[in-house]
């Protein structure tokens, strides 16, 4: 790859075309092996091991010792490929594994995540990405530090970035550990370190360049792994050729079935293991409007403030391509996100509909317990059947499962071959690894570029800077894996928090830095510090100190407290202090037009 660098960019469609073809051939070979009698476990191991090896190879081929290649992939990532890389960067283990399950249990209310995690890109495109690209920074704190000037502003941005991204990355390493441990049949604690090893192989040697090209490869795997089972299932069960467009009827049917099975009239059955739930929320009925829109707002503003996403748009060749690239990112994300509700609907219909062979609610418990997939997932603690009223018939409130099952087990429930389960494991691994990579790199880059190089040792030479960057990657990765191995939080709680941290501390300092010339250093520092502290304080009070949430703003939505505090603090303090000097104002004028040189040089 190093040898044909100029060519490499032109050859990208061909290279990834061959890669995609190769992956499809690999799936077919696995299918043939399955027919020849290879067991499910071996297929799972081969899928995960094969794909992780490919990512590692790409990471190795992309190694570099140049600063701008390490930090921004040499700013030559083409629009559509950057869109794919961003989509992989974005869609985490939680999106892949937990989202459909969340919709399965939460119905309409949970769709706030789907809306929030797509619409945020409009903010990225309209308010941020093109201007940050014009700025020419390596990291988000690089922008804050240069626009507002001074080490304190830079340091505050680094701090918010590290807290938000670290919260997120532990959940991702946790997910790689879960998938690796299940697919490779190793203990979770070992799986976590195995996952980390894969992640570091993708990022350590080549920085942003390596992460970019592995993320494109990971996107291809994860989208195939998500879509193939859904299309297959839909066609097999006669829902239609393009399931996403035609599941309206199934949605209506579920409302009927819920009423038939007595949803909402049944008492909760006690005794389920931690993390397992029975259905209790109607699928379609509209969620509380306030709760819905507050969650949407926090997730969207968080999207637009998370540095691992923003920094992807620093890698495009031009401002225009940064803008288009945001659009392509949303398109590639959309492909998965508009499929998740369809998948949740099918799974629900299959389990609830007594007319289907797969329907289990209303059947005899002995019969249900005899099903192979029920036994398999019960044995690993993902699923539980408790005969609460002792009548020997499975009621809706007696069937408990983890949300993850919707993605992981639906192929088995629908009776698809094992090769599909292996594919799904590889997809989940790709989703979690790609996000973890982006996050680790965002943290390590902020620490190595902003904290070490810009604040501590501005005289450091290139070689030393890049060594420090890699050492930090290793240390932060290990810290993340260590925290993940303690299993402190459920996957999704932590993920939503990362968005709230990011929007509380960074949203307004970034946006106003571009859109409000009057914003100055003191204002930005106040915005970051007060917003972040207010949000964090509220999270602590609601989640850990037993305070009653204000007007329904629970711990998932603490950005609703942090953001207004940040905005007000930033405006008030900016207006109370002197306006920025003429040089800074001229710089803001320059950011606002695409033409001309970037503010910061290509190597800084």
């Amino acid at each position: 790859m190093k040898g044909l660098k100029g060519n490499f960019i032109e050859n990208l469609p061909k290279i990834y075309g061959m890669y995609t073809g190769g992956f499809l051939v690999f799936i077919l070979i696995m299918a043939v092996f399955e027919q020849m009698g290879m067991d499910a476990d071996t297929i799972g191991i081969l899928f995960v091991a094969f794909t992780v090896l490919i990512y590692a190879a790409i990471g190795w081929l992309s190694r570099t010792m140049q600063v701008d290649t390490y930090y921004v992939a040499g700013r030559q990532v083409p629009t559509v490929f950057n869109g794919m890389a961003t989509a992989a960067d974005w869609m985490s283990g939680a999106s892949f594994v937990a989202m459909a399950g969340g919709i399965y249990f939460g119905g309409h209310g949970y769709l706030a995540f789907v809306v929030g995690w797509t619409g945020g890109y409009i903010l990225v495109a309209a308010l941020m990405a093109p201007y940050l690209r014009k700025f020419g920074c390596y990291t988000v704190p690089d922008f804050i530090g240069t626009r507002y000037g001074g080490n304190l502003a830079r340091f505050c941005a680094v701090l918010v970035l590290v807290v938000a991204s670290f919260t997120y990355v532990t959940a991702q390493i946790n997910a790689t550990g879960t998938i690796a441990s299940r697919a490779l049949q190793i203990p979770f604690e070992v799986g976590v370190w195995f996952g980390l090893l894969g992640i570091l192989l993708c990022s350590m040697l080549g920085g942003m360049r390596a992460v970019t090209w592995t993320q494109v490869a990971q996107y291809i795997v994860l989208i195939i792994a998500y879509l193939v089972p859904v299309f297959w299932m839909s066609n097999k069960q006669g829902f239609g050729v393009v399931p996403q467009l035609v599941y309206g009827e199934a949605v209506m049917k579920i409302t009927e079935l819920e009423a038939m099975h007595g949803l909402g009239t049944l008492d909760a059955v006690a005794g389920a293991k931690a993390g397992l739930k029975a259905l209790s929320v109607p699928f379609v009925a509209a969620a509380d409007g306030w709760k819905f829109v507050t969650l949407v707002l926090c997730m969207m503003a968080g999207t637009a403030s998370l540095p691992h996403i923003l920094m992807r748009y620093f890698t495009t060749p031009s401002v225009r391509s940064a803008r288009q690239s945001v659009a392509w990112s949303l398109f590639f994300i959309f492909l998965l996100y508009f499929t998740a509700p369809a998948l949740a609907t099918f799974t629900k219909l299959q389990l609830l509909n007594p007319e289907l062979a797969t329907g289990i609610i209303g059947k005899a418990i002995t019969e249900v317990n005899a099903l192979e997939w029920v036994q398999k997932w019960s044995s690993v603690g993902f699923l539980q059947v408790i005969d609460g009223n002792g009548d020997g018939i499975l009621q809706l409130n007696e069937f408990f499962m983890r949300g993850d099952i919707v993605v992981l087990a639906t192929p088995e429930i629908a009776g698809l071959p094992y090769v599909i389960s292996g594919l799904v494991a590889a997809g989940g691994m790709a989703a979690a690894m790609s996000t973890a990579d982006g996050l680790l790199l965002a943290i390590a880059n902020a620490l190595s570029h902003d904290l070490y190089y810009k604040i501590i040792d501005p005289a450091a030479e290139t070689r030393k800077r890049l060594l420090v960057a890699r050492a930090l990657l290793l240390v932060i990765g290990a810290a993340g894996a260590f925290v993940a191995s303690l299993k402190l939080t459920s996957i999704l709680g932590a993920v939503a928090w990362a968005f709230d941290f990011a929007c509380s501390g960074l949203f307004f300092p970034i946006v106003l830095g571009i859109w409000w010339k009057r914003a100055n250093r003191a204002g930005a520092i106040a915005g970051m510090v007060f917003g972040f502290l207010a949000g964090t304080w509220y999270l602590y009070m609601v989640r850990f100190a037993g305070m009653d949430p204000w007007v329904g703003i629970d711990h998932l939505r603490f950005g609703m407290i942090g953001m207004p505090v940040s905005l007000i603090a930033m405006i008030v303090v900016s207006l109370m202090t002197e306006e920025p000097d003429a040089e800074t104002q001229a710089m803001v004028d320059e950011i606002r037009v695409p033409a001309g040189k970037t503010i910061l040089g290509s190597s800084h």
């Binding site: 309409h108 949407v296 803008r323 959309f334």
Partner: protein
């Protein structure tokens, strides 16, 4: 036209585009979902409309809006002479 007046025109049009884009964003991120209950009385492609907008409708519109925005902003950049040389 002087560079300064071009800059003013470019920024005025850019701001207007941003406001239109964010208006659409507000409608499809918040307004329609606030009224999801009422919209569920209507049916669209076999879905209850409120549910459909959250599961698919808003997302489709976001994709369309964002591609349109990228196109419109480039138009502004080229017409005011601030597009990059390619």
């Amino acid at each position: 036209m002087t560079d300064a007046s071009q800059r003013v025109e470019h920024w005025t049009r850019t701001k207007r585009l941003m406001i239109i884009t964010l208006f659409l964003w507000v409608v499809f991120s918040f307004v329609v979902h606030w009224f999801a209950g009422a919209l569920n009385a209507f049916s669209f492609m076999g879905f209850p409309l409120g549910f459909y907008m959250a599961a698919q409708g808003s997302e489709v519109i976001f994709v369309v809006v964002i591609f349109w925005f990228a196109w419109a902003q480039h138009k502004i950049d080229s017409e005011t002479g601030f597009a990059e040389e390619e």
